[in-house]
């Protein structure tokens, strides 16, 4: 799974720390999600999508291997 959180953050002009605070996780977790090291739960994915006001599929995308 890939994601474009980094791009969305840049558009909204918020830092990893600010996003982390908004959805109640650590900065480390946002960082590992952005770098595709950690796959968030559905709840967390929905929360992230809500921050950016977009459907989940626009932020998280399946890859061929998935």
């Amino acid at each position: 799974m890939t994601n474009n959180i980094r791009v969305e953050r840049a558009i909204k002009n918020i830092t990893q720390a600010e996003l982390a605070e908004l959805i109640g996780v650590s900065r480390q977790t946002i960082n590992t999600i952005e770098s595709n090291r950690y796959v968030p739960s559905t709840i967390l994915a929905l929360k992230i999508a809500r921050v950016f006001n977009k459907p989940v599929e626009e932020i998280f995308k399946l890859e061929k291997e998935d």
Partner: protein, 147 residues
């Protein structure tokens, strides 16, 4: 998120205190009694004798200390931390049973096997869990220094 069955964050410090208080007391006792001290003096198997009380005050305090350190909440207890916790627990159980089987095969010393079993899973869990968190922090710092 799923933070049930965990101790509050401050209990980690209490846990470390118990672990570190245990070490000098145990060393002093070993020096006084000799190398072969194992909780009970030879031939002494009574309850609540001074040796038995001492055993409770040291070995069990260490186990409780490790327990508190292992299962206290992080500052931010999110789902990634929960997953690291579970992964580390799985590794700790693997290591513990590997060691248990190995020691049962090569040793007859039941008392020491029991002792080993008391702290190996907790100690291994703590080391593995903290190491993973350290890795996450290092990754974050690296990213921040690049940005």
């Amino acid at each position: 998120m799923r933070t049930r069955y965990l101790f509050p964050h401050w209990s980690r410090y209490l846990g470390w205190l118990l672990v570190f208080v245990h070490i000098p007391i145990m060393l002093i006792k070993k020096m006084l009694v000799g190398e072969h001290y194992e909780g009970h003096a030879a031939g002494d198997t009574g309850f609540f004798t001074s040796d038995h009380l001492f055993f409770i005050a040291t070995a069990l305090f260490m186990a409780i200390g490790l327990f508190l350190v292992a299962f206290s909440k992080e500052h931010i207890e999110d789902e990634q931390i929960s997953q690291l916790r579970l992964d580390s627990l799985q590794w700790a159980i693997y290591v513990n049973y590997g060691l248990l089987i190995l020691t049962l095969i090569i040793s007859n010393d039941r008392v020491h096997i029991l002792f080993l079993n008391m702290w190996v899973p907790l100690a291994f869990f703590i080391v593995r869990f903290r190491w993973k968190i350290w890795q996450l922090n290092r990754l974050l710092k690296k990213e921040e220094s690049q940005a």
